[in-house]
């Protein structure tokens, strides 16, 4: 299973600031390995964030999002909201992490 995400979510004045770090190599399909062989493309394609079960943010990535992707967005919410963050990559691997907004 892929490594866990690092998620921070803090509420201030009714706005929740969410920062997400994902562990992923985000291979472009253009890089060559030490043996000179092309490393096939492999990257996160979809990111979904739900608060209390409702979509608050969606992202579609190409391979030009940096390795170990970082994402910061904001939504109108409250302390204690249950966030469910999930991503899915081009190989069909996925990762789901949850946390409560502080």
């Amino acid at each position: 299973m892929p490594d866990p995400m690092r998620i921070r979510a803090t509420e201030k004045d009714g706005i929740v600031d969410v920062k997400i770090l994902m562990r992923h190599d985000m291979e472009t399909g253009q890089r060559k390995d030490a043996a000179g062989k092309t490393v096939p493309a492999w990257f996160i394609q979809n990111l979904n964030v739900k608060a209390q079960g409702k979509d608050v943010f969606n992202a579609h990535f190409g391979s030009a999002i940096s390795k170990d992707p970082f994402l910061n967005f904001k939504y109108k919410g409250s302390k204690g909201d249950k966030l469910t963050v999930s991503w899915l990559d081009t190989k069909g691997e996925k990762r789901v992490d949850e946390l409560l907004v502080s």
Binding site: Q30, N48, V56, A64, I65, K67, P69, N72
Partner: protein, 150 residues
């Protein structure tokens, strides 16, 4: 290419599963646009987004460096007073022009910050879709490379 296609098919299948499990809404699951992400020019991507060249807008404010110390990691940030429902980031001189798309369901603030790869110095286009219409802001980011060559 075949492998990629297989992967895409596979991911579509898994998406179905995730969608039915409620992890990713079925509407979103279908939207990763192959045509847009495989576009090789601004025009390719504009076409895939169903727009002509978007109108420039002063309502889009950017938080981006003039110079990136490393093309592998270029931090970008955008906020807007437009009622954004969708944002797209395009790097003109990357092999694939479209870098990412971001969707803002009701309740989300029109703000995004992430890090992108840039193959070389290039204009970067920040597109915002509000009330069905696309707007944009653009900025050149310089990418510098050096090295010990070891």
């Amino acid at each position: 290419m075949n492998q990629q296609r297989r992967n895409l098919l596979k991911s579509t299948a898994i998406f179905g599963l995730m969608a039915s499990a409620g992890l990713i809404s079925s509407a979103q699951a279908q939207e990763w646009s192959k045509a847009a992400f495989e576009g090789k020019s601004l025009d390719d991507v504009f076409k895939a987004l169903n727009t002509s060249t978007p109108e420039k807008s002063g309502a889009i404010s950017l938080n981006v460096p003039d110079i990136a110390e490393n093309g592998a990691v270029v931090p970008i940030g955008l906020s807007t007073t437009l009622k954004a429902e969708q944002i797209a980031i395009l790097v003109e001189k990357n092999p694939n022009t479209l870098v990412g798309q971001f969707y803002f369901p009701a309740g989300a603030e029109p703000f995004i910050a992430t890090r992108i790869k840039m193959a070389q110095t290039s204009p970067v286009y920040f597109l915002v879709k509000a009330e069905g219409k696309w707007y944009m802001a653009a900025k050149e980011i310089k990418v510098t490379l050096g090295g010990c060559g070891g």
